[in-house]
């Protein structure tokens, strides 16, 4: 669509994306040009003027929320690096996609941290994995890999030590299957390459200085340590990486003044397996079960975001059928059930963190077990559901949730599926939410412990690209199901949960409201399932192919997951480079980006509150570290 050439003044008021693009192109023709590549959208900004244009986008056009910032390596496809930014308005609507390109060898792009602080971790990730320098970034250090890692692994020409082939399926599997154990190729000691100039002694160095100096805390450990230890009252405390209290192998380094935290730096990457590189070797289909392993508490939501992104791309081509209504209804049901699972889990373990050890969480886990039973019967697995497919699903609901005794001592269950669901949605889950509220909402200890702690202001929440309950707990009514609706959400009746205080208690309240809203949605899904009984979950009645045709282009599919906005940025090279594998596969992980304001939220609080604040953000390390 081409908007009429209007006076730039008038176009500022234009609320459409096209209007915004036209405004930018006409206001700054020297710096901005539309991205006219096949299947691409948005604008390309000259790297030199990026900062200026970003300010215009935020201040003049009102795109106050930077959802995602990520890099793409176009080796052999133009031989440049590209940063891709997706900016949104918190009032709702689509994305303004803007890109900046740079040379591969001397990759440098101005940092946008001064415009959106939410770009902080994402730019560090792009530096770490792609080797793009961000001029003006306050602390441009590696974030997922360690300092001293050789190379930038997401670059297309980087290869791991046990490299097998660029793309799956690998040649050695068939017809002359050549079996080997993967350890044979991945020998300990030979699986890491060090840069030539690295001092290996430094990696072995266990002195405090080496451990803490790269964190950018601005603390001179030597100065603190070299006295008798008690001379100064500033202290560096290392928390983690230990599982229960930090929700996974996650580490925080804080400086404390007495009991009060003065600064905090999250340290992550212990669970990093370069999910995105694996994803680019995989075929489109292969990636679905891999997304299960991101936020393993709500794998249904992960599946949903990914299939939405790929379906966006597929819909550009011919021979693509929209999912049927029944399929959409089932998807929404599964996603809402996993939101319930996620919030029960989040609240339960947050309580653990602030000292209500395991009694409440076990009440919630009982409910979760029933939902997982249902997932297991429908999708085949409790947590790694692998349920959604491009244009469809793995399978419709089974008639009965039924088992057959197979092992010794096996006990058998047999329920009618719809009856099971109805009882769950109408009785069990609401009852549990009531109990949860009775137990907690008015509980004086909980209130004293959580009110006014870990405050994130409204403006900070937006500027830090916070998402999910963290954003809505700070007074921003931004829920993707409403702001940029997908699937059948537009026709469903539900409210966006929002609280203004921005503290731990507000986030708890948001989660409780969302639990109730999810039940409300599920109650609307049940009659829809009854009405579509017998309808196929596939548009043409038969399952999709294992190698779907994905045309050239880019897509950003995002969903409101339990933990916040989960986005998948996918670039397809179309037929040029083997259409079965994505050229770029990026996950905008809410657990990762929500940690950006962690330092701000913890400032001035006591050490004992830190774990609680972390729990109230609700992260999963499988997704943080990817």
């Amino acid at each position: 669509m081409v908007a009429p050439a209007l006076d730039p003044e008038v176009q500022t008021n234009s609320t459409t994306i096209e209007g915004a693009i036209d405004y930018l192109v006409s206001a700054r023709p020297d710096a901005v040009s539309p991205d006219s590549r096949d299947g691409y959208e948005g604008i390309i900004v000259a790297a030199g003027q990026l900062l200026e244009i970003a300010r215009m986008i935020r201040d003049d056009l009102g795109f106050d929320y930077l959802s995602s910032a990520t890099a793409v390596d176009y080796l052999g496809e133009g031989d440049h690096m590209e940063m891709v930014y997706h900016a949104y308005r918190t009032s709702g609507g689509g994305a303004l996609v803007f890109k900046a390109q740079t040379d591969r060898e001397q990759a440098e792009i101005p940092s946008l941290t001064s415009v959106w602080r939410g770009a902080d971790f994402q730019e560090r990730e792009a530096w770490d994995l792609y080797g793009i320098r961000f001029a003006g970034h306050p602390n441009l250090k590696r974030i997922l890999m360690w300092e001293g890692f050789h190379g930038h692994p997401m670059r297309k020409d980087w290869r791991e030590a046990y490299y097998e082939e660029e793309q799956k399926p690998f040649d050695s599997r068939w017809p002359g299957g050549h079996v080997h154990r993967s350890e044979e190729k991945n020998v300990f000691g030979k699986n890491v390459a060090y840069p030539p100039d690295i001092d290996l002694g430094r990696l072995m160095d266990t002195s405090e200085t080496a451990v803490y100096q790269s964190l950018g805390l601005g603390v001179d450990v030597e100065r603190i340590m070299d006295k008798d230890g008690f001379e100064t009252n500033e202290l560096v405390v290392n928390m983690g990486p230990h599982h229960p209290s930090t929700h996974g192998v996650f580490r925080m380094v804080l400086t404390v003044d007495g009991e009060t935290v003065t600064s905090l730096a999250p340290v992550m990457g212990y669970l990093h397996r370069n999910h995105e590189k694996i994803g680019e070797r995989n075929t489109y289909l292969h990636n679905i079960p891999f997304t299960d392993r991101l936020d393993y508490i709500s794998s249904m939501g992960n599946n949903h975001g990914y299939v939405l992104a790929v379906e966006q791309l597929m819909s550009l081509g011919r021979r693509y059928n929209e999912p049927t209504y029944r399929c959409e209804a089932l998807r929404v049901m599964m996603v809402e059930l996993s939101r319930i699972v996620n919030h029960l889990w989040a609240i339960g373990f947050w309580l653990n963190d602030i000292g209500a050890f395991f009694t409440p969480v076990l009440y919630f886990i009982q409910e979760r077990e029933r939902i997982l039973d249902f997932f297991e019967a429908v999708a085949g697995s409790r947590m790694m559901c692998n349920y959604m497919r491009f244009g469809g699903l793995f399978g419709d609901l089974p008639e009965r949730i039924k088992s057959v005794s197979n092992l010794t001592n096996d006990r058998v269950r047999d329920y009618n599926t719809m009856q099971f669901l109805t009882e769950m949605i109408n009785e069990r889950i609401p009852r549990t939410i009531d109990e949860l509220e009775l137990l907690l909402t008015q509980n004086e200890i909980l209130i004293e412990r959580s009110m006014g702690v870990g405050v994130l202001s409204r403006d900070d929440a937006i500027n830090f690209s916070a998402a999910g309950p963290l954003l809505r707990g700070s007074g921003v009514a931004y829920d993707i199901r409403r702001a940029e609706p997908y699937s059948i959400y537009p026709e469903l009746d539900f409210d966006v949960a929002v609280e203004d205080e921005g503290d731990m208690y507000a986030r708890y309240r948001v989660r409780v409201t969302e639990l109730r809203e999810s039940v409300r949605i599920l109650r609307q899904i049940l009659p829809r399932l009854e009405a579509t009984k017998g309808e196929s979950i596939w548009a043409d009645g038969k399952p999709g192919a294992y190698a779907p045709r994905v045309p050239l282009g880019e897509a950003y599919g995002r969903v409101e997951n339990g933990k916040g906005e989960l986005g998948y940025y996918i670039v397809s090279a179309g037929g040029r480079n083997g259409s079965m594998n994505p050229w770029r596969y990026h996950v905008r992980a809410p657990s990762f980006i929500n940690l950006t304001p962690m330092g701000v939220m913890c400032h001035g609080h006591k050490v004992a509150d830190i774990v609680g604040i972390l729990g109230s953000i609700d992260i999963v390390l499988g997704e943080t570290d990817r």
Binding site: D171, W174, G176, V179, L285, G380, S403, V404, L439
Partner: protein, 280 residues
């Protein structure tokens, strides 16, 4: 009043505590006994109180769609014509759709003609790597690979036990139909026969050539066959096994490295040839 919220919460905890004993009383303190047929109720939506399962004295039988490490289907031993034969035709699709690439297949060749035969010579799955996604079973066009329900696979030495070879992977068709009766039935409806696709095709061909002579007796063992829509097409073929049977021979998975290498080289050559043909 300050503290009421706390007190209410404690009352709830107390109620949960009491409820945890209600079932014991209801089942006369025989809650976990084999004779009480209460497992479905205890684990259902209506239950309150303790839902713990006393593993391994009790185990939750897994639902039909449960997926855990694939196995290969072979024909039942008492099958009249194809006893013990693989359903797998070594088409390679499962190896392609497997996300972590843990399936290795050696396609079988006729020793005389060198032409591929529809049966794998060897089949390996590294279950350390298998992510139990179920794609292999989902996309196999011959229903020859299925996800198992036996999750008790712990072993003392993973290096020797965790690459399953064809022998270890093979389980009879009747096993699949016993652990997942509904799914097996649905698959039969899609295939149109309880038999293997190819066998059914052969049978149709055999029946066509034998038209006019006495009708073949339906030698099916399944009672359900009667309800199969394509039951008519299921007359077993008597003479279609010649090529396939000749592939039975030495066990390739116990061969030495040199032989495997040799076979692999040949396979790759064939592959290159095919690729070259396609390129023209």
């Amino acid at each position: 009043m300050y503290g009421t919220g706390l007190a209410k919460g404690l009352m709830l905890t107390l109620r949960h505590f009491v409820e945890s004993y209600v079932d014991d009383v209801r089942y006369g303190f025989r809650k976990y006994h084999h004779s009480t047929d209460n497992f479905g109720i205890r684990q259902g939506t209506k239950t309150k109180g303790v839902i713990t399962v006393q593993y391994p004295d009790e185990k939750i039988a897994v639902p039909e769609r449960f997926r855990f490490v694939p196995f290969l289907i072979i024909e039942d031993e008492d099958h009249p014509t194809r006893a013990g034969k693989d359903w797998c035709t070594s088409c390679g699709i499962c190896a392609k759709v497997c996300p972590p690439q843990c399936i290795w297949i050696v396609r079988g060749n006729d020793p005389d003609t060198g032409r591929p035969v529809p049966e794998p010579e060897a089949f390996f799955i590294d279950i350390d790597i298998c992510m139990n996604c179920g794609f292999c079973a989902e996309y196999c066009p011959f229903d020859a690979i299925k996800m198992d329900h036996d999750y008790e696979l712990a072993s003392y030495d993973r290096t020797t036990h965790h690459i399953h070879d064809k022998e270890r992977l093979s389980k009879p068709n009747s096993y699949w139909r016993s652990i997942a009766p509904t799914r097996a039935y649905d698959e039969m409806l899609v295939r149109g026969t309880w038999e293997h696709k190819d066998a059914a095709k052969e049978a149709r061909r055999g029946a066509a050539s034998a038209r006019g002579s006495a009708p073949q007796p339906a030698a099916q063992t399944e009672a359900e066959t009667a309800s199969a829509p394509a039951a008519a097409a299921e007359a077993p073929a008597a003479t279609s096994e010649a090529t396939a049977a000749s592939a039975e021979g030495a066990t390739p998975w116990s061969e030495d490295e040199a032989k495997r290498e040799e076979r692999r080289r040949k396979a790759l050559e064939r592959k290159a040839k095919r690729a070259a043909r396609r390129g023209q």
